[in-house]
């Protein structure tokens, strides 16, 4: 018996007991909807947490800081690793690492035109800038061979204020503006930005470093929005200058900078504390960014780095705990849906058993004219599977509707009290493609499982008793 005929026969027999089929399909539909909506809430929860973390940095990046890695009790794990070209090679050799970007950071006060403000400067190899997965909003990224140019984050312009305003503020004539207004990033494009650095114990040496702004990076409220990127050689030069007098340690400056960067602060503070145990060379990198292709790689690489004694930190590590909680929530929600679907499955079994009673004679005839056990079995499973399939498909449609309504309501709720134009809240119910596919396949599977018992009973029917005349 070929598959198409099988399905056609099954569909015909279902259609002839319309009312019952529709009711049974409704059961499966409700079950499927329950499961999908429940799981979609769990997934939505997961996703919104993930997005809020991603807004602080990519999940495909691990940051390796100087210093030792510590275990949960705070005991150092192995020796502190130095971050130099050797280490870079060592990291590149780890499986799952896609690219490695060493970086220096530096910073201080910068000026352009009549404006003044703090600038956090990161030195990267211009050739490696594309690894950071930035897109320019204006201008371009750093390119190989660049010197004395700079690419800034979109918020950097907001760190700068007019010289006159600063003076007024200092004299108390003007209260600092409570809400800082957003300035146009285009204002900083193509500007010549200068940084005055002082070196020596009494800041007796002064040097001016100048950069041409060649690009502004896309993305607001991200870590990089507040940073500026310059060719690594330029930043190296700045550091050398700063270190001339203070004798090699970069701690004071980099600590100050790291404090501003959230995540980095912890580890750098430790470096400060354990200065005696591991001296940091002037030419050592401030940190190394390790890039991977996806989150799962990030987790593996992050663990490998820790195993090798690196002091590494990644957003993906933080995600783990959150994922665990939301998995639990999903399991509970999914369980509620599963119970609903179980009830639907019992409905299918019941319908199919009734069908056997009605069709005893028909089944007998089919056996007499040459239907094998397998044919009869498949026919019943196909019917049950079709009930599952229709219930699953319609349930999925309903799920999308329910999910849409939930999101509409929750968006209204969440966007209230938020200034207009801020990042649109994503829905709390998300139905990814795999869930849709899974839901339908699962409904079919439930149908088939529910049909197994009736199918076996149908197979065992004696054809003789079925076709007896009396």
């Amino acid at each position: 018996m070929n598959k198409l005929d099988l399905l056609q026969l099954a569909q015909k027999s279902l259609w002839r007991r319309k009312a019952r089929t529709i009711l049974t399909v409704t059961g499966v539909m409700i079950g499927t909807t329950a499961i999908v909506v429940m799981l979609s809430l769990g997934i939505g929860l997961n996703e919104s947490q993930r997005r809020s973390m991603e807004s602080w940095g990519s999940l495909n990046v691990i940051r390796v800081q100087p210093g030792t890695n510590y275990d949960n009790e705070g005991n150092p794990l192995g020796e502190a690793k130095r971050l130099n070209d050797e280490t870079v090679e060592e990291i590149k050799a780890i499986d799952g690492v896609w690219a490695v970007t060493p970086a220096y950071d530096a910073g201080g006060e910068a000026r352009f035109g009549r404006k003044r403000g703090g600038l956090q400067l990161i030195g990267v190899d211009p050739a490696a800038m594309e690894n950071l997965e930035f897109t320019p909003l204006l201008g371009r990224l750093l390119e190989p061979g660049d010197r004395n140019v700079i690419v800034v984050g979109s918020e950097v312009i907001n760190q700068f204020q007019d010289e006159a305003d600063i003076k007024k503020m200092q004299r108390g004539m003007m209260i600092s503006p409570g809400m800082r207004e957003d300035k146009d990033p285009a204002d900083i494009m193509d500007q010549r930005l200068t940084m005055e650095l002082y070196s020596g114990t009494n800041r007796e040496q002064k040097k001016v470093f100048a950069f041409q702004v060649v690009g502004v990076l896309e993305g607001e409220q991200k870590e990089h929005s507040y940073q500026a990127y310059a060719p690594i050689e330029d930043v190296k030069k700045m550091r050398r200058f700063l270190n001339q007098a203070s004798g090699g340690s970069t701690s004071s400056m980099s600590r100050e900078i790291a404090m501003k960067m959230g995540g980095g602060a912890v580890s750098v503070r430790r470096v400060g504390g354990s200065k005696s145990s591991s001296r940091i060379e002037a030419d050592d990198y401030s940190y190394i960014l390790v890039h991977t292709k996806d989150v799962s790689d990030t987790k593996i690489v992050s663990q490998a780095l820790k195993d090798q004694g690196f002091n590494s930190w990644s957003m993906a590590d933080q995600l783990e705990g959150i994922e665990k909680t939301s998995r639990t929530i999903q399991a509970i929600l999914g369980g509620i849906g599963a119970i609903t679907l179980l009830v639907a499955a019992i409905g299918i079994t019941n319908t199919m058993i009734m069908a056997i009673y009605e069709r005893t004679r028909e089944i007998g005839i089919m056996k007499v004219i040459g239907a094998t056990f397998r044919d009869i079995h498949s026919m019943f499973l196909a019917e049950a599977g079709l009930i599952g399939f229709f219930g699953g498909i319609i349930g999925l449609g309903l799920s999308y509707t329910v999910s849409y309504v939930i999101n509409q309501i929750s968006k209204d709720f969440m966007n209230r009290g938020m200034p207009p134009g801020t990042e649109e809240a994503i829905g709390i119910s998300l139905i990814p493609g795999w869930l849709a596919l899974f839901a339908v396949l699962f409904a079919i599977m439930i149908g088939i499982l529910a049909g197994l018992y009736p199918a076996n009973r149908a197979v065992r029917l004696s054809p003789i008793n079925a076709i007896r005349n009396d």
Partner: protein, 231 residues
């Protein structure tokens, strides 16, 4: 087909009913065999056993040297599908299917493609004078028409043996005659073997050979040499 010492016993509660008692019988290829007997004499039981629809308690049936008792359920079904056809007193058509669908059903199980099976089904229905009834459901047809549909269904797989259990039991004498003539013609034309159960002595005249049964045993075999020469 050779039937040897075929015995079938049924247990009803404590009682054991012997429906067939050591029946020996040979059915020749291409003959029209009629099984006659009173009600409860075991005619239908014999037919069912010969068709492999039931297992004998004892004894054996072999068709072309193949013994049925050694066959698996699945092979038996396949054997019926390929080589046997069935006609019953109560037509046993599937009520939700049209005439055309009913006739092509055996071919559906056999997995033949739609065009082929619809073609064959049409051809047979036309042959049996049901040209205008393709799309009719069983309850929209008379008894005689339904029986003709069921004969078409029985013949659609070009069987070697046709089993008929009181095929005219529900029909009036005129329709009975029509049906019997159709069956007789099929046997004479195509070398088909027909085993027909009836309790109507008059129908015996269509057959090549008649066996009479009483209480599960064959009591008499009547040959009609005139009709059947050799097979």
């Amino acid at each position: 087909m050779k039937v040897t010492a075929l015995t079938k016993k049924y247990r009803i509660g404590q009682e054991i009913v012997t429906a067939l008692d050591r029946v020996d019988l040979t059915v020749k290829q291409g003959e029209f065999l009629c099984i006659l007997g009173t009600s409860g004499s075991g005619k239908s039981t014999l037919l069912h056993l010969m068709a492999g629809l039931e297992r004998p308690t004892k004894g054996d049936i072999s068709i072309n040297g193949k013994t049925l008792s050694g066959m698996k359920e699945k092979d038996m079904a396949l054997f019926r599908r390929k080589h046997m056809g069935f006609v019953f007193q109560s037509y046993n058509l599937i009520p939700t299917m049209t005439a055309l669908e009913n006739v092509s059903l055996p071919l559906i199980f056999d997995g033949s493609d739609t065009r082929e099976r619809v073609g064959k089904a049409r051809e047979l229905l036309i042959q049996l004078g049901l040209k205008d009834r393709f799309r009719h459901k069983p309850q929209e047809m008379s008894g005689g028409q339904q029986q003709r549909v069921s004969i078409a269904r029985a013949l659609v797989n070009n069987p070697r043996i046709l089993f008929a259990d009181e095929p005219t039991g529900n029909l009036d004498s005129k329709t009975t005659k029509e049906i019997m003539e159709i069956l007789r013609e099929k046997v004479s034309q195509s070398g088909l073997t027909l085993v027909m159960v009836t309790h109507d002595n008059e129908l015996a005249e269509y057959a090549d050979r008649c066996i009479y049964m009483v209480d599960g045993m064959i009591t008499q075999i009547v040959e009609k040499g005139a009709r059947h020469e050799e097979a």
